[in-house]
Symmetry: C2
Subunit: 457 residues, 2 copies
Amino acid sequence: MSKAIPYKIYLEEHEMPTCWYNVRADMKNKPAPLLHPGTLQPMTAEDLAPVFCEELIRQELDNDTRDYPIPQEILDFYKMYRPSPLVRAYCLEKKLGTPAHIYYKFEGNNTSGSHKLNSAIAQAYYAKKQGLKGVTTETGAGQWGTALSMACSYFDLDCKVYMVKVSYEQKPFRREVMRTYGASVTPSPSNTTNVGRKILEEFPGTTGSLGCAISEAVEVATSTEGYRYVLGSVLNQVLLHQSVIGVETKIAMDKYGIKPDIIIGCAGGGSNLGGLISPFMGEKLRGEADYQIIAVEPASCPSLTRGKFVYDFCDTGKVCPMAKMYTLGSGFIPAPNHAGGLRYHGMSSILSQLYHDGYMEARSVEQTRVFQAAEDFARVEGILPAPESAHAIRVAIDEAMKCKETGEEKTILFGLTGTGYFDMVAYERFHDGQMTDYIPTDEDLQRGFDGIPPVNL
Amino acid sequence: MSKAIPYKIYLEEHEMPTCWYNVRADMKNKPAPLLHPGTLQPMTAEDLAPVFCEELIRQELDNDTRDYPIPQEILDFYKMYRPSPLVRAYCLEKKLGTPAHIYYKFEGNNTSGSHKLNSAIAQAYYAKKQGLKGVTTETGAGQWGTALSMACSYFDLDCKVYMVKVSYEQKPFRREVMRTYGASVTPSPSNTTNVGRKILEEFPGTTGSLGCAISEAVEVATSTEGYRYVLGSVLNQVLLHQSVIGVETKIAMDKYGIKPDIIIGCAGGGSNLGGLISPFMGEKLRGEADYQIIAVEPASCPSLTRGKFVYDFCDTGKVCPMAKMYTLGSGFIPAPNHAGGLRYHGMSSILSQLYHDGYMEARSVEQTRVFQAAEDFARVEGILPAPESAHAIRVAIDEAMKCKETGEEKTILFGLTGTGYFDMVAYERFHDGQMTDYIPTDEDLQRGFDGIPPVNL
């Protein structure tokens, strides 16, 4: 029995999820454990304790608990910006002339502008609960840093953000949003850490890198009383928190008797895709339903479609644990494309395992086609998408156009992770015809693995 | 009978307003008519036809029809971003420790980032219905231009925006959003009009003004086949369309048995305040209810609190009709404060009449106190407000703190018109302690009336 479907489905407060869903509980092949970079042995809770909060370590290592009750304090915060709307893209369907039904879950309706807030508030909560004074992190494009600064402000927790220097200077607006929320934002490399000072000495003119910013943030967390380090993607705990996206989506779809045939999400480190697909993947793993699940990545940084499934460092600085994942090699330097959130050499271990086991597929797309999709979408659906999100729009439109050819009335669901307000420089390049596509050669890809020790487990 | 009140009240589709409410129908003293600047006679529909669309002229001159059914095409577009949430500011109340109940109607949850879209889509619709090819307008800070470009894109209408040159250069992101929606954006003054060429000849280095941009937009509209000029505030028609804000708010409050004691809105030209208060003011005018209604304006541009209630030009270029309103004089040049949307010398004739007749009050506030309120609000409620909206937040907090002193449990409603994503330069100045307050002297105010002919009607 299906009801008339509104443009936007908002759950009422009493319908909202009260648990996160841990997809690992339903995986036969569990994601491989993190390894200590020195001993190459699985990281224990004790190994991780100087870096991460206790409860987050428990979540990170827990492959068994299926449902995690969301603490009331986090539910209260979620109420301020959730539920996010599940939108029926009636206008896009009409413009494409497709028989497909297209839905998107829009996570940009909060000041941080993206889904990152779902995990930021959880990580800030557990840090506060542990009695910590503050947390440190790095940020590149700035979505994660913004979300974390909002979360820390809410729990009155100190927040130290190391922002890649080139972004700090080129994206002053992001920086000011973080300052509005009381975060201290330091351009990286900086003089505030040993690793920063060392890099500045060797390369005085450097504009920084994510790898360096991670190293600085970790150094401060581990050397300052009452601080820990937090991360916005890749980790199992992050996918757990982000499952709220998928659980909400599934409740809303079930309410109206809608069943997606295809589920699409952009994938950088995997936080959004992993969250969106979680409960659907759970049904698929348990053999209760089937869905076509597609991860979309930039052609310039194709970890799933052209990477290797091996143990690698999570950071380019090689200070963090090693993870088994689809990776281009921690030495891979992606071309400066405009989807900063997708410029990551690896991929969540959970998603890597699921992809390896055939539960999902992957596509890579070039950025000019991505921006064309972004503009087409904005003009009919109103929302100005982030470049990252537009990767999913591109493939959703491609799939809808296939339906037009075949006459199939498929139901397509995609994740619209955020807004593009702080990405207008990229749009400007697109409008002015100055945007280029870059596809790495096989030789480029091989160089990413230089200096990485082979690990076979 | 009141139900438990959620953080955010969203109306369901079947509860949404289907009519705009025309407050003029309930006013005993109607707003004074627009006058022809040459003859000083009331403007007729024929006089206005070369400039405005036919249906919009009918709405502009209609002081009698109370309810205007909203055309289905506009209702369909409203469904894409409306209802806007009515939010109970639980976190702000807690932080202030006030017994007051605070609610805000948030109009920033759409890509244009403000309430301006409510009227933009209506004006674009009537232009399309009349068979026009396109519309012209001016924009300063860019909220109106962005909203209009989105609306024109939806109806496949050409959109020519004259953007004050200094904003065009300093706010390239706003410009790129408009281009994403297919608008042509021209820095004003430009070589595309007679008036622009004349000004450039006289003042080659000028960075432009709103008055000049209006003149260029009107010249293009009246001299190009199939084009008309549209405006985002001040006019009666705009307040009619914006009544959707207030009508939605009232339906949501009635649903939960909430009755506001105080209603607060920022006021530049009056589009937001007029829309928010409309149905409440209607009850007040008909003697069915009483509300304390407060217009908030910048101390640097205090048209209600320090202006005169006289006939004046609507534009600094003196090419548009004259309106009877509270005004600082069309020659008044406001200090460069950071709430571009409130830097207008006059005020809607409807609101001016209501203020003159004692149905509402007005307060002026200084911008550093406004930004302090903006930051306090952002940190607990999550939303990063536009500087304009923060004027209303300032007075809402002030009123809530009075309740704390007296112990009164008043219900306060304010309009949160938009987001501040494109105003981070202002926030940066505030963070860096570089923001100054400016209050014009009586002599400054007198200069605004130089050269304006006295009109007594």
